[in-house]
């Protein structure tokens, strides 16, 4: 295999950087707030509720423009998970094993509960929870 002639970590660094930079550059340039720029989430357009990931494109767009509050407004859960996922990517590039938190036995179960509760909560029409929806201007 040609693989042995290449520095694996360098390859990973390139892949990792591209995995962060390309999507950020895309949403920075192409505004997801404009109708028709990106496909709408099928769940949202068919069922009419916010899925756990709804608003993540707009959140990444906010993030790319340095608007942290707007990013949280569009998808707070993604913002909470991003540091964790970024850390995992960094560890993958550095050929280190997953963080202790991700290797925790009940990590998948916790993620399942958190993400399900997140989807339920952001669709409830009561005041403290409805700000969690992906809609614009719920917060700021």
């Amino acid at each position: 295999m040609k693989r042995s002639l290449v520095r694996p970590s360098l390859v990973r660094a390139v892949i990792g950087s591209a995995a962060v930079a390309l999507p950020l550059a895309t949403v920075w340039l192409v505004d997801p707030n404009v109708e028709g720029h990106y496909p709408t989430c099928p769940i949202r357009s068919v069922v009419g509720v916010d899925c756990p990931g709804c608003g993540s494109l707009r959140a990444m767009h906010d993030l790319a423009h340095g608007d942290l509050l707007g990013a949280f407004d569009h998808n707070a859960m993604l913002m909470l998970f991003l540091p964790l996922l970024g850390l995992e990517l960094a560890r993958w590039v550095a050929r280190r094993p997953s963080s202790a938190l991700m290797r925790w036995r009940y990590a998948p179960m916790t993620a399942l509960v958190v993400l399900s509760a997140w989807m339920l909560a952001r669709n409830l029409p009561m005041f403290p929870l409805d700000v969690l929806g992906s809609g614009v201007g719920d917060w700021a």
């Binding site: 899925c51 050929r95 997953s98 036995r105």
Partner: protein
């Protein structure tokens, strides 16, 4: 994206102890046959022979059996692409951990393969969504 790197990444995706992952090997000449699971790390650290990594650290895994649960991939799929398939992946990730904890290696392997399959399905669904969208967009705008 780690799919493309499976042969070399298999053994650092699951829990080893913190100080193990640096696989130390001297830079060999290109013709020298390589062990596929030990990629060389050029010019990073001096070779240290006879130092077996103290595997089998924190959780409950058997040493030497890579058992990725693809949790990161499934969470990414849930939050960025396809919650239905991503959630299925998280469920299988949970099964991997549960079966490893009870020592059911065969069951854990099955769940791991399923989690991997659903990661691939998520990626495929994402691409398919884009293809359908672009096709509809193209036909609507008469390109």
């Amino acid at each position: 994206m780690s799919e493309s790197d499976k042969p070399t990444s298999g053994d650092d995706d699951w829990g080893g102890s913190e100080e193990t992952p640096w696989q130390q090997q001297p830079p060999p000449p290109p013709q020298q046959p390589q062990q596929p699971h030990q990629p060389p790390q050029y010019g990073q650290q001096p070779p240290q022979y006879g130092q077996q990594p103290p595997y089998g650290g924190p959780p409950t895994h058997q040493p030497g059996t890579p058992m990725p649960n693809y949790l990161v991939h499934s969470i990414l799929a849930t939050l960025l692409c396809c919650p239905p398939t991503g959630i299925v992946g998280i469920v299988f990730a949970s099964q991997v951990n549960g079966k490893l904890a009870t020592g059911d290696l065969a069951g854990a392997k099955k769940a791991s393969d399923q989690a991997k399959l659903w990661t691939i399905i998520s990626v495929a669904a994402g691409f398919l969504g884009w293809i359908v969208y672009l096709a509809l967009y193209a036909s609507a705008s008469g390109v």
